[in-house]
């Protein structure tokens, strides 16, 4: 039986096609743009074609993410907290804490032994500590965001970025460049800044290991390193960290078919 999960994030749209609540048959990540509906359709079609399935094969659809309410093909919408909990637990059942750094928000979720969400915190009204922060810095540095992980690997120190405010940090970065600080050290410093911010959020809950990192930012290994160094914890990254929310939604959709 086929179910579909759609995660309509602020930055990207993700889809996962799941069979029998067990096997991921297809998935897709697309930059979200002006017309969410068209991109969602493309994203669904792509995941379905990977799965070798048709739209009519889908038994249930669950939407999550900020755009979830306006997704008219979904049978149900569920918050990204619950979906990330479910998705991460499915991939890594040993996980007790999830750190998810998304485009516009970051969240920390505590899971019980059986994978239920016990508690969660999310950043509020501030882009510091989110993917957007890095995007802005990538533009300021003139470096592709995808290269951040690799470049920061060459750093010999993490420069302190004293401003958490995205706008002020941007001018700080520009003045660091003007002072000819090596780019790799600046990027490592930016990672540290995000890590500190997210760990401060996490400390409102009890961080229980194992900790897993999900969300698009998890692809950047520099963030993982920074979280591990600053937080003195080990971080695991599940397969396809960016589609964990959509996977959770697809798992929920499967649970709906059993009701």
């Amino acid at each position: 039986m086929i179910t579909l999960g759609i995660d309509l994030g602020s930055n990207t749209i993700k889809t996962v096609v799941l069979e029998d609540g067990r096997d991921v048959l297809g998935s897709c990540v697309r930059k979200s743009g002006y017309d969410t509906k068209i991109i969602t359709d493309e994203c669904v079609r792509e995941a379905l074609s990977q799965a070798g399935a048709k739209f009519d094969d889908i038994k249930k659809i669950v939407a999550t993410g900020y755009g979830r309410v306006s997704c008219d093909i979904a049978h149900k919408e569920i918050s990204e907290i619950t979906c990330h909990g479910k998705g991460a637990y499915f991939r890594m059942p040993e996980a007790r804490t999830i750190i998810d750094i998304g485009g516009q928000d970051s969240k920390v979720i505590s899971l019980s032994d059986n994978g239920k969400v016990i508690d969660f915190v999310m950043n509020d009204k501030c882009a510091a500590g989110t993917g957007r922060f890095l995007e802005v810095m990538a533009t300021a540095l003139g470096v592709a965001l995808d290269d951040f992980g690799e470049i920061s690997g060459k750093a010999d120190k993490m420069i302190d970025i004293s401003n958490t405010c995205t706008v002020f940090a941007e001018s700080e970065v520009i003045s660091l460049l003007a002072r000819r600080e090596p780019v790799e050290n600046i990027i490592a410093g930016l990672h540290k800044s995000i890590a500190s911010r997210v760990l401060a959020l996490a400390s409102r809950l009890r961080i229980q290991e194992p900790v897993v990192l999900t969300g698009g930012v998890a692809k950047n290994l520099g963030i993982k390193r920074a979280l591990e160094t600053v937080g003195k914890i080990n971080i695991g990254i599940p397969v396809s960290p960016q589609t964990i929310g959509a996977l959770g939604a697809a798992l929920h959709a499967y649970a709906l078919t059993l009701k």
Binding site: D105, K116, V117, V121, M122, R204
Partner: protein
């Protein structure tokens, strides 16, 4: 939502109060008007026939009609920081523009400030005393760092001996003992009734939600010590009891009972109450409206008991006492979880909330959610963010319910 006939009475009561206050201050030369803080000893004013005006209650109205940003903006133009309490900013805004749902507050003859709720009010009232060029009477209530003690109570009581003559001198009126006793009697009756009204929500399902209570609260704050308040609350209580007898709940299919902490988010009352109701969630109790429900004013010792009451209001107590209070409300109302509003404006109320949340969760075994907002300033609120958090929180409660 069942229909409550007393709501009309409440609207009339508050309308009459504002119209009388405004017309009196403007056209009736013998009227004396005093602006007072929400934790101030209004009984003295009522007993002396002085019209009390509450800029905070007015601020709530400003917030509810979404004029908060406009009026705060006026204060910000004058150089006041956006980080200051939005009630203060709105009050400055209405003073300089005379804009508000009631067309601005009447001019005060003097101000009465009690710092039992926060330190902001002291500076706020100093600012307004200068602006209107009127005297400021001040009642100092030391923070209960280690709980309330007799020294604090005596210190506050002694101040009544100086502030009453001060008010008498300003207004040319005398405070008489008989009248004081009667006002204390009504005040006490009002407080007891308010407590009983809030307690109706112990019933499952609750006959009203806190969103209702936030409105019903106005008279006990502003007109405490008058007969009208007692009468209005008697009627309201009767209606709520009738709803209980009929088994009618305020929220259809009440499934999750939640307790709220901090001031309401005035401009989001309707939306939040709808969102929660759509999940079958009902706010059954809160620390805010309960702050006016647990005082004891004895007509035979009005000043001693008032000193005790005013020195120990909720916001003047330490974090331990707040934890204690919150925990007992959660138990009293048989709640399934709790919501904490981290209010950008109100620092004394929002201070320590992360610790409070942890400790209350530990003591009750129940989950809580902190949402960041502001009571009047819509700029500090994001629908999507808050609603995602609420939805996730309810999903957690649902899983817990299903598991048990």
């Amino acid at each position: 939502m069942p229909k409550i006939d007393s709501n009309k009475k409440l609207r009339n009561l508050m309308k009459k109060y504002y119209v009388k206050a405004k017309l009196g201050a403007k056209y009736w030369p013998f009227t004396k008007t005093c602006w007072i803080t929400s934790g101030g000893p209004v009984e003295i004013l009522i007993a002396m026939g002085i019209t009390p005006i509450y800029p905070e209650n007015h601020g709530a109205m400003i917030g509810a009609v979404k004029m908060g940003v406009e009026l705060s903006g006026e204060a910000e133009k004058l150089g006041y920081s956006q980080d200051l309490c939005s009630y203060f900013r709105c009050d400055v805004g209405q003073a300089v523009t005379q804009k508000s749902p009631v067309g601005g507050l009447p001019r005060p003859d003097f101000l009465l400030c009690c710092n039992n709720i926060c330190g902001t009010v002291l500076k706020w009232y100093e600012v307004q005393a200068r602006y209107y060029d009127v005297p400021l009477v001040f009642l100092d209530t030391p923070y209960n760092y280690d709980g309330l003690n007799d020294d604090i109570v005596n210190y506050v009581k002694e101040q009544f001996e100086s502030i009453i003559p001060e008010i008498e001198k300003i207004t040319g009126r005398r405070l008489n003992e008989k009248k004081t006793k009667q006002v204390a009697q009504y005040a006490n009756e009002g407080i007891k009734l308010w407590n009983e009204i809030l307690s109706t929500c112990e019933n499952v399902p609750a006959p009203m939600t806190c969103f209702d209570a936030f409105f019903y609260l106005a008279p006990i704050v502003t007109l405490r010590g008058t007969k009208h308040v007692v009468e209005y609350y008697k009627g309201l209580k009767k209606e709520l009891e009738a709803l209980i007898a009929q088994g009618k709940g305020a929220v259809e299919n009440e499934t999750y009972r939640l307790v709220w902490d901090n001031l309401p988010i005035w401009y989001k009352m309707r939306r939040l109450s709808k969102t929660l109701a759509s999940y079958g969630a009902c706010l059954v109790g809160d620390t805010y409206t309960n702050a006016w429900a647990d005082n004891d004013i004895n007509p035979d010792d009005p000043f001693g008991t008032m000193a005790r009451a005013y020195a120990s209001v909720y916001l003047n107590r330490n974090v331990d006492a707040k934890i204690e209070n919150f925990t007992s409300l959660i138990k009293k109302y048989k709640a399934d979880g709790f919501l904490i509003h981290s209010n950008r404006s109100c620092k004394p109320y929002s201070f320590g909330q992360f610790d409070i949340k942890d400790e209350v969760s530990r003591r009750t075994g129940l989950p809580g959610l902190i949402i960041e907002a502001d009571m009047c300033d819509t700029r500090a609120y994001s629908d999507e963010q808050i609603e995602t958090r609420l939805q996730a929180f309810i999903e957690t409660l649902k899983e817990r319910k299903e598991a048990s």
